[in-house]
């Protein structure tokens, strides 16, 4: 049987294959290649230049005995935990309020979301100004007659991270609100009809019916907030420069300083690898829930 020319596997849909090259390159060279490169070099004693001079876990030992790194981790933990809780709670409550068929919903939503359009640098600088003890909130409250009122987070190492937190929540909670609102809108309206017929109070419906139904949205929000937390850098640089002293340092800033101003590449690589590990700790359970769960459903 004379068969017509079988198009060779490689040449078939050649254009499609050419078009996929940038994606393949970015995925393999950058996201896999560069990550592996950094992890491998975190075991070397690179300083000014990357060297393949392996020293085992030395860099990590040094890292975990550096006070600045420990403060960074502590800050990240406090900031992260508060940010997670506040964003989720504020985001959900605001979304539920906006979902009450209120008037001016678009206006309210626009106002709550607009900070998300601004950069962290702008956010940091605005709140640096508002929290300025000589002119900002502290000054105003004292002028109102409460002379001993003290609220100067940016100058108090104990609470500086909460000053950053206020700005972070201001910038990011609108996004979570929008996600939650989309989630609420995605819930079948008949659920509400059913709960009205059954006479279940609204708050109970939210707590026992709606929130469990919105599990995927919560997980998405959680992952988004969490990955944002690990990356926090610009906000700190603009608002506090890590100060006072090193009181508001964060891991991302530690890495950048080690790599680009202290010529201590090995420390930078080790610290960034630790960041990667912390992301994986968040991401792997998420991926399992998301994709493992889906397979179970099928």
């Amino acid at each position: 049987m004379p068969r017509s020319k079988r198009p060779s596997g490689l040449l078939r849909n050649l254009n499609a294959k050419i078009a996929a090259i940038p994606m393949i390159l970015i995925a393999s060279v950058i996201f896999v290649g560069c990550t592996v490169w950094t992890v491998v070099h975190s075991f070397t004693k690179s300083r000014l230049l990357p060297k393949m001079d392996f020293v085992g876990l030395d860099q990590y030992e040094r890292l975990w005995s550096t006070r600045r790194w420990l403060i960074s981790i502590e800050n990240l933990a406090i900031y992260g935990l508060c940010m997670l809780v506040l964003s989720l709670v504020i985001g959900f409550v605001l979304a539920a309020l906006l979902d009450q068929k209120i008037r001016f919903e678009n206006t309210f939503r626009s106002i709550i979301l607009f900070p998300f359009a601004l950069s962290f640098v702008v956010t940091g600088l605005v709140w640096q100004w508002i929290l300025n003890p000589d002119f900002g909130i502290q000054f105003i409250v004292r002028n109102l007659g409460w002379e001993s009122f003290t609220f100067d987070p940016l100058f108090n190492p104990e609470i500086v991270i909460f000053g950053v937190l206020i700005a972070g929540v201001w910038q990011g909670s609108g996004l979570i609100m929008v996600l939650m609102l989309a989630g609420l809108r995605g819930i079948d309206g008949e659920i509400w009809k059913a709960s009205r017929i059954d006479g279940i109070p609204k708050w109970k419906t939210y707590l026992y019916v709606v929130i469990p139904m919105m599990r995927p949205v919560f997980i998405t929000a959680l992952v988004l907030i969490a990955s944002g937390i690990v990356k926090v850098y610009d906000l700190i640089v603009a608002q506090t420069k890590g100060g006072p002293g090193i009181a508001s340092e964060v891991p991302a800033k530690y890495v950048m300083d080690a790599m680009f101003s202290k010529q201590n590449l090995g420390q930078g690589f080790a610290a960034s690898t630790m960041m990667l590990v912390s992301v994986l700790i968040i991401l792997i359970p998420y991926a399992y829930l998301e994709f493992g769960g889906r397979r179970r459903d099928k």
Binding site: W37, Q100, F108, W129, F139, V230, D234, K241, L276
Partner: protein, 297 residues
């Protein structure tokens, strides 16, 4: 008449002022104050003269409105290196923005189209890597990228920054386009193949004209994202082509001289103006962009 109104008849009487409504709107207005106040403070501070700032509180409206701080922020504020204001950063940012937005959207839309309609076996692996890549902290990849760009001779150049923005825009944009193109009925794609259109034919003549809204969404995402970028600007450019955010930070946080808060706030506002404009013009599309990008992420 009075007796009739007691019999339930016609629409149920509604009162506008109820306890519930007062609570609801009261809470929302308070919340909105928290979100609006910083913007308000920025505006009033930027319109005051320095003497007035030193005396009054930051919330009081300016007694004497002056645009001096805005002029200074734009054209003469000092960054420590030079004193020609934010205007330089603005133009740098524009020059970074245009090619970065264009290139990243072109590459990502073609990739998304490929994944939706033409993927070969195993192509999903790369997509999965991209999506996971969106969560890897930039700090992990940044140094090797510096080396790669240096080898390619693009380090410190505008084109290098364009490449970086394209790379890190890939995950979210590819996801956005892939999901959109997947939602286009498969039969349309089949019909076009029966009509003899190939990879590029279907992309340009069927998919592209159908998907203008998603391109607008992607543009909004990228314009705000790239304009607001600070990290890549610091790492991958040199002072004379620093983007606006980096310049802003250098002006405000420069340690030399007296702090001019009004100029700082004017500069901050100027930097935020582009994304804010985009945000308030695009409205629903902006929301759709971040929601569609995020919900499926």
């Amino acid at each position: 008449m009075t007796s009739k109104s007691l019999i339930p008849n016609g629409p149920r009487p509604r009162r506008v002022i109820t306890g519930r409504n007062i609570m609801l709107y009261g809470t929302l207005i308070l919340v909105c104050l928290y979100y609006v106040l910083p913007l308000y403070v920025m505006v009033v501070t930027s319109l005051k003269g320095m003497p007035e700032i030193r005396m009054g509180n930051i919330f009081s409206p300016p007694v004497e409105v002056t645009f001096e701080p805005w002029v200074k922020a734009w054209s003469t504020a000092c960054t420590g290196l030079n004193c020609d204001g934010l205007s330089r950063g603005f133009w740098n940012s524009i020059q970074i923005l245009l090619p970065s937005v264009a290139v990243s959207i072109i590459v990502a839309s073609v990739s998304g189209y490929f994944l939706a309609n033409w993927k070969f076996r195993g192509a999903e692996v790369f997509f999965t890597i991209l999506i996971f890549g969106a969560f890897i902290p930039y700090q992990v990849m940044i140094y090797p990228i510096v080396i790669l760009l240096r080898e390619a001779g693009l380090m410190g150049k505008l084109s290098g920054l364009v490449v970086v923005h394209t790379i890190f825009g890939m995950p979210i944009l590819t996801l956005l386009f892939r999901n959109y193109f997947t939602s286009v009925p498969e039969e349309l794609f089949k019909a076009a193949r029966v009509d003899g259109a190939g990879f590029w034919g279907i992309y340009f003549r069927i998919m592209l004209p159908m998907s203008l809204p998603i391109f607008v969404v992607a543009m909004i995402l990228q314009i705000t994202g790239i304009w607001n970028d600070f990290l890549f600007g610091v790492i991958f450019t040199k002072p004379d082509i620093y983007p606006m955010t980096v310049q802003l930070n250098n002006i405000v946080n420069s340690v030399q001289g007296v702090k001019e808060y009004n100029v700082n706030m004017a500069a901050t506002l100027l930097t935020g103006l582009v994304p804010l404009t985009i945000y308030f013009i695009s409205g629903k599309l902006f929301v759709r962009g971040i929601a569609s990008g995020a919900v499926k992420g």
